[in-house]
Symmetry: C2
Subunit: 237 residues, 2 copies
Amino acid sequence: MVSLWNRRRARLAANWLASRTTRAKVPVERLQLDDVSPELTVYLGQAAYLQLSLYEAMGRAGSSAPTMSGRLVTGVLATTALDRHRAIVAEITRSHHDPAELMEPHREAIDAFLHRTAGADWFESILTGYVTAGILNDLFASLARSLPADVRGRLKNVFDAREEPAVVEELTADIAREPLVASRLAMWGRRLVGDTLLVGRSALASHAREDEERLEPVFTELIAAHTRRMDALGLTA
Amino acid sequence: MVSLWNRRRARLAANWLASRTTRAKVPVERLQLDDVSPELTVYLGQAAYLQLSLYEAMGRAGSSAPTMSGRLVTGVLATTALDRHRAIVAEITRSHHDPAELMEPHREAIDAFLHRTAGADWFESILTGYVTAGILNDLFASLARSLPADVRGRLKNVFDAREEPAVVEELTADIAREPLVASRLAMWGRRLVGDTLLVGRSALASHAREDEERLEPVFTELIAAHTRRMDALGLTA
């Protein structure tokens, strides 16, 4: 997860800053990420490989689900990962690049990261599919706002978290049935958020080194979304 | 894969037979399957679980692909399996049944079958995703023609083999690069077709016992499609 962003021309940031007083309701992280422009091919290759790897992780986890409904929900997570993968691959093809080629440079880092966060059983794996994927989808959605307008338009809803209600319903029922699962998942969630934010931070920081403190609000926002996700399960973030 | 079909009322078959002389171009297996009507909930539960299991198998196989393009193609197979799964689950929900409940009775048999046909490496696994899924999709598509008209209409294109060109392109390139793969895959393909047809036959036969010889054309047709699939890879079926 390295070398994602190039600094955008100062003009764009200045324009944005100049207009800022009139858009008080825009979330604060927009300022930060509009100042850091991802390189398109790097962004697309990384996003495509991440989603491909996430569906594979769900495929591996699926058959060890303790219930058939858990297995269905794992399939929902795989479906949304593959939908995202497919949308990003279409974007790569449209830009006359080869998906395999753009994905390759990100293989090693993402494999290592997902190996570390794979989880010891289905409960941990599904939480990875919810928490880690959730944080990274938020991050990629935020970054997409700095992509060229046409790409941004086509990728606009790709990272929407439409799978989350199904996961919440399933895990809440599981936790009600096996209360011991809750403390284990709360602990695993803290491990995941730490690992995931570290990876995101190192990527962002390498591109905005002198402005690292300006990126703080992005992470504050990602952590807030993570806390809401854990709250939805009745777990402490 | 047991107890799939109930005998349809003789009237329907008689009607069909009476009209047959005027529709000489309809494929011969229509006659056979119109005579064997699948029980809707059994059909849907079995099809939904099969597709869910096929995507999981692809997810497990994906990361061991020798090339990134092979991994992308494995993702294509997983995508179509999940698309089919999703369409069938939607049909189950529409009929006010619970997908997990309808899938459960088929778990053991399909798990055992897919365990037997999992393959020792990526090449074998991807061939399973092409050959076994291909035969079973053909079988489910044929059976769908005997479902109630509204369901049949909604499931009409669900089993279309739109993933096959991608698999053929990838495996043909792999075989060109590693010619030894060809003989291994030809052998594995024969193992797969044997196992898959046995399973399909035992399901059909249990519902049309006295007419088993009437089902022969169905299997002739499934085998012909399988032969075309292997031909497309330059392999002997």
